[in-house]
């Protein structure tokens, strides 16, 4: 019998399934009876399951690389001439492969919890392990049944395959964006599993939350960076000069991120003030349910989307899974509600915990709005048969004010002490930030930024930056006074020793960059469209665009029609090649923009139309988009801040810090 990747992959997955089922029982037994042998068995099951799923994923990559068209997935998503890079990333270019990747990540998280999560908290972690095994079982069922079996054989083995979707073999970000998103989605299973375990055991405390804080932070950051990478991909590939269209699948990704952001903040209230216990559990459940909802929306074909995978039997299964998750976890939560009493209460609206609460309300409202907006066409059609659309104008109009409210809260929250502040303190704290905000607003007006929302964004951005600078300055001053460190050492030590707090501020700065990038690029983009012949040139926002002509380029997997453009002026001197791509198996050409990126602005060029007979003219659209690269930069800063916040802090002696506020001023 000859070797076959399909047999290897199928075999590995079929072997993994019973192991995962065994793992549920072993872990549950180990948790209930505190049985060491059962725990060891569950651990080894987790590890071997993980290795088997990785083996299956490698088998798929092997099949793709060797163009084994006897596997239907390979035949549909790969061709002999597909470049190696896009051949490998085809693992997640379509439904079955992406579910396989998902399963592999989930198996990895399960194995991690099995080996590293159990020592400190044996019962909680072992129960969580059983929950993870149950979720893993579901995904293994998907990949071993026709619902999403990646190794289904082709009916007839074709000589060549279809090749990946043209849009997906166009940009290296394709290698980054989906895995980051999946990592973010899947790693959130761990906080969820611990939360469920805590409910099952009736612990009522916040041990689950402290244990998974870092997991939640990392998966939140991966999801966030994945979303930014996705918008970068769409900017660089889709050729409309935008990066966010409120497409159902973008919405599906942003919803869990929004709720997770609310969660990351409200956990601090629970840690510091022992409040919001049931609320935090609700947020974890909601985040996790939304990741499944997102998967469902992307893969069931119920909504129209650029990302929608083809319809398959997986839709009803995912919906069933979602319903099971929601019913079980909400049921558990309601059952345990009496044990989740808070130790105390939020007193005054001018305290940090109160700001976190308001922030939570806004985040949840924003999420609900995205959720209902995304599903509203389905709801309307189910109710009355009416067909309608909810798109960017709606989401922009309702989400922008909410985002501004969040920016505002992001500025004041960190400045307010726990338990409340006095008015005198407030005035002292906020003088500089408010002056900075005025500066931001005036800067926006001076640079002719259009629209009240854009001006407000600048004002609030300056406000937040000033508060962050103030916080760093205070921290550095304190360290210098207490330890006699130099300013730079003090800065480094703040990040290293209080990474959670100061890393969080770095995240805030990243968010400010994103907000400024969005406000500026949305309100000040200059758009020029000209039909030109070779040798013509025209102006766009101070740049001169010279058109050198059209030429054809042959590549193994596609043909290109390239427009040669030279961009000069504003200190730029670049050659851009916007193109139309012709793939053998696509009916219409795919546009590919030519982009000259810069810190100040991007020149974004699109070949819109051309003379099909003599190629004597071409229509070129040029967008000069200010500050758009700050968006990707902001995403990176958010990721960096999250890394700082997630890094383990050095064990240290107790450091006395001066209180930020003299007790004498309390309650005036």
């Amino acid at each position: 019998m000859s070797f076959s990747f399909a047999d290897l992959g199928t075999g590995a997955l079929r072997a993994a399934l019973p192991l995962a089922i065994w793992g549920i029982g072993a872990a549950a037994y180990a948790a209930a009876k505190r049985d060491g042998r059962a725990l060891a068995s569950a651990r080894w099951s987790a590890l071997i399951t993980f290795l088997l799923v990785v083996l299956a994923a490698l088998a798929m990559i092997g099949a793709l690389v060797t163009h084994d068209f006897s596997i239907a997935y390979v035949a549909r998503n790969n061709a002999l001439e597909t470049p190696l890079f896009f051949t490998v990333v085809s693992l997640w270019a379509a439904l079955e492969g992406s579910i396989l990747l998902w399963t592999a990540i989930l198996a990895g998280a399960t194995a991690y919890v099995a080996w590293r999560g159990t020592p400190a908290l044996p019962r909680l972690a072992t129960t969580a392990l059983a929950v993870l095994f149950a979720m893993l079982t579901f995904f293994l069922l998907l990949v071993t049944t026709p619902a999403a079996d990646p190794f289904v054989r082709s009916d007839i083995v074709p000589l060549n395959g279809n090749g990946p979707n043209p849009l997906l073999q166009n940009h290296p970000l394709m290698a980054l964006h989906p895995p980051l998103l999946y990592l973010g989605y899947v790693l959130f299973s761990v906080p969820f599993a611990y939360a469920i375990a805590s409910l099952i055991l009736g612990e009522g405390g916040d041990r689950w939350l402290v244990a998974t804080r870092r997991f939640a932070l990392v998966s939140w950051a991966l999801l966030g960076v994945g979303i930014v990478a996705g918008s970068w991909w769409s900017y660089a590939v889709l050729g409309w000069g935008g990066y966010w269209a409120w497409d159902p699948v973008e919405n599906a990704a942003i919803m869990p991120w929004l709720v997770a952001t609310a969660y990351l903040h409200s956990v601090m209230v629970e840690e510091k003030r022992r409040l919001l216990r049931s609320w935090n559990l609700s947020l974890v459940i909601a985040t996790f349910a939304l990741t499944i909802l997102g998967t469902f929306l992307t893969r069931s074909g119920v909504v129209n989307s650029v990302h929608a995978f083809t319809q398959s039997a997986i839709g009803p299964l995912l919906l069933g899974y979602l319903v099971a998750i929601v019913v079980l976890s909400v049921g558990l939560l309601l059952w345990r509600l009496p044990t989740l009493r808070d130790a105390g209460a939020v007193g005054t609206p001018l305290s940090r915990e109160a700001i976190f609460l308001f922030q939570n309300v806004v985040f949840v409202a924003a999420t609900l709005t995205v959720l209902l907006g995304t599903l509203y066409p389905l709801i309307a059609e189910a109710l009355s048969g009416a067909q309608l659309s909810i798109g960017r104008p709606y989401f922009d109009r309702v989400e922008v004010p909410l985002a501004l409210a969040l920016l505002f809260l992001m500025g004041i929250g960190p400045q307010l002490p726990w338990h409340g502040a006095s008015r005198v303190t407030l005035e002292r704290q906020f003088t500089a930030p408010i002056v900075a905000a005025a500066g931001g607003a005036l800067l926006a007006v001076a640079t002719a930024l259009g629209g009240a929302f854009a001006v407000l964004t600048y004002a609030l951005a300056a406000f937040v930056v000033a508060t962050v600078v103030q916080e760093f300055a205070r921290g550095i001053r304190a360290r210098r006074a207490l330890h006699g460190e130099s300013a730079s050492t003090a800065f480094a030590n703040l990040l290293r020793r209080s990474g959670r707090r100061y890393g969080g501020y770095i995240v805030h700065l990243g968010i400010v960059l994103v907000a400024v990038a969005v406000a500026t690029s949305q309100s000040k983009t200059v758009e020029v469209e000209r039909t030109v012949s070779a040798g013509d040139h025209f102006e766009a926002a101070g740049y001169t665009v010279a058109f050198g002509g059209l030429r054809s380029v042959r590549e193994p997997q596609r043909d290109l029609l390239v427009a040669d453009l030279a961009i000069t002026g504003n200190g730029a001197d670049e050659n851009l090649r916007p193109a139309l791509l012709f793939f053998p198996n696509a009916t219409q050409a795919v546009g590919s923009p030519g982009i000259a990126a810069g810190l100040h602005d991007d020149v974004y060029t699109i070949l819109v139309a051309y003379d099909t007979s003599a190629r004597s003219w071409a229509t070129i659209r040029v967008l000069v988009i200010p500050l758009v690269s700050w968006l990707w930069l902001g995403g990176g800063v958010v990721g960096l801040g999250a890394v700082i916040a997630a890094l383990p802090q050095p064990k240290r002696r107790e450091v006395m810090r001066p209180l930020t506020e003299a007790p004498a001023t309390v309650g005036d």
Partner: protein, 160 residues
């Protein structure tokens, strides 16, 4: 009035002035009207992009039609109405507030109001019991929190 208070007041006035200035309605040009109308029309051959955003040929043709209608002096409603007659409400990217489908506009308002109602109720419910912790108690609490913050809490980390 303290000096700080005066500075804050002036700064707030400047922000208010800047926002009001930028929000002041101005004469819309034909190009702005075209942008506004096309950003609310759905490109019929794309997946959810607006006519303004879409690079598709049909979107460009729709845009040309809007340009022509604006030049002819039609109102925004007339132009939208022309596309609605052919494509129904589907072609509008945000549902008109006039029919029942406009209820979607209430979602953020209702969600915010419900959330704030819960938060405020909680706060008020608490006030009697937590009303007046003595200055000394509060100071002790503060100190505890500051200490914990400095330590960032000893962690019973399991999964990390």
């Amino acid at each position: 009035m303290t000096r700080e208070r005066a500075v804050i007041l002036v700064a707030l006035l400047a922000i208010f002035g800047a926002v009001a200035w930028s929000a002041w309605p101005h004469e819309t040009t034909a190009a702005e009207r075209v942008d506004r109308i096309t950003s609310e029309l759905r490109c019929v051959t794309c997946q959810g992009l607006s006519v303004k955003d879409s690079p598709a040929a049909s979107a460009r043709q729709m845009r040309d039609l809007v340009v022509q209608r604006v030049a002819e002096g039609r109102t925004d409603d007339e132009i939208r109405g022309e596309f609605r007659a052919s494509y129904g409400d589907w072609v509008l990217l945000s549902p008109p507030a006039s029919s029942w489908t406009g209820l979607i506009w209430l979602v953020p308002v209702v969600a915010l109001a419900a959330g704030l109602a819960v938060v405020v109720r909680r706060m008020r419910a608490i006030v009697p019991s937590a009303a007046a912790p003595s200055t000394r108690e509060l100071a002790a609490l503060r100190e505890r929190v500051a200490r914990e913050e400095a330590l960032d809490l000893p962690q019973a980390d399991g999964a990390e």
